[in-house]
Symmetry: C2
Subunit: 254 residues, 2 copies
């Protein structure tokens, strides 16, 4: 039986990046897409519990079913695995995101929330993001590498509980230098909100922010991307900082 | 100058658990509360970018200002730090959550999203959760321990980039055995959605799920909580799984 690949994203079911990813995935197996009805960027690992979810079957062609769901990317993964995949997926993909999910951006990303959820459920999972926010971004330059990463993962699997956060620099294909496996760079978003005043004189605040990542080390994703490489960061769904356990035992145990 | 403590939560500005926490915090310094207008459970690390935010000043008493914001817990932390705290906070607290944020629940939790954001911004931060979902839960039984954890953190600080995920068992004060510093237990939520049919015969899906955590080790939070201890898990905002970097270099580098 062909591999089954489940795909979601956070830019919504009509996003160009999602289409680019399903066109590559179909080369490797049967594909089920379940993606948010509309843009769900910045929804992280959120889930919908205050209202029920609806699903629309958008498209069926040979080996491909596309569903739109009015939940978050994490909802999409949970619901698709339980009700819409004909068998357990061999691989869960998310993206291709319109914009970076490198460094600390993984925290906010719905694209990567879906990937982490898939990993927690026991599936191999990869998130792909292109460093280009435009809805009309060109996703073709990295097709060769995306194909390589999917093929390798299907063939060799991933370490237990590990998924991949793949970011692609905004460069023509012949200027991408290759792949680097790295760690998240330490970074911050500063000046997060812009205060404005409405026509009634009342204040409101728009999310904005400046990405601060001074001098990322050569071992980090930000360095790789700034120097023409595709970055792969292995991530896992356990937030525990193990080295601190012994230190904090001395501090807090009563 | 007194320490400044910023508090948020995900149950909303009127939640009993938030009140319980600000009553303890005020013993230690000046307190600014900025919490979501309404319930924001399950919003994880999500941020609001599609619309601007509004803020309402709910309450001012000696040493305490309470604001309601129509964003997520992460929005509350960012916005409060930038516009509503009179100086940088010495400590950011979140909770007390009505319900567990142990084990894998940290992924979904808006309470813990706020804590991780505060850590990423460079502040000491602690999330408190009680294993009792009821809006009328009794939060008094752990006051002694919460006071101890806040006092110790203000006095000694936390390791760099580390925050605390504190969960409190649902037990009378005299049955709580003490504090254990531990790691997240591995767990899954299965049977995530319940399919129903509306009066028009159309399907919809409600989030539900069964928490599966068989045989948690004695070193884990689930074991501690099941055995009458308060659990403290040190967490950090870097999802990289460092031990896998070398393995994956061999697998993926082109």
């Amino acid at each position: 039986m062909k591999p089954l690949i489940l795909i979601t994203n956070d830019d919504g079911v009509t996003a160009k990046g999602l289409r680019a990813l399903d066109e590559i995935a179909i080369e490797f197996g049967d594909v089920v897409v379940m993606a948010p009805v509309s843009n769900a960027s910045g929804t992280s690992h959120s889930i919908t519990s205050a209202r029920p979810l609806r699903v629309r079957h958008v498209k069926h062609t040979e080996g491909l079913d596309v569903y739109a769901c009015d939940g978050t990317p994490v909802d999409c993964v949970k619901l698709a695995v339980e009700y819409f995949c004909p068998r357990p997926p061999d691989l869960v993909l998310s993206g291709i995101n319109h914009g970076s999910n490198s460094s600390i951006n993984v925290l906010y990303s719905g694209t990567m929330g879906a990937v982490i959820e898939a990993t927690a459920l026991g599936f191999n999972a990869i998130g792909f993001s292109l460093l280009h926010h435009s809805p009309d971004a060109d996703f073709s330059q990295a097709t060769h590498y995306i194909r390589h990463i999917i093929a390798t993962t299907l063939q060799k699997g991933l370490p237990s509980d590990i998924s991949l956060n793949v970011n692609i620099p905004r460069l023509p294909a012949d200027q991408i230098k290759g792949i680097r496996v790295c760690h998240e760079a330490r970074a911050k978003w500063l000046d997060s909100f812009e205060r404005r005043t409405d026509p009634q004189g009342q204040p409101y605040w728009w999310l904005t922010g400046k990405f601060q990542c001074p001098d990322p080390p050569q071992s980090s994703d930000e360095w790789a991307l700034a120097n023409g490489y595709i970055s792969i960061v292995p991530i896992h769904p356990d937030f525990t900082h193990y080295p601190s356990i012994e230190t904090l035992k001395k501090t807090f145990t009563t």
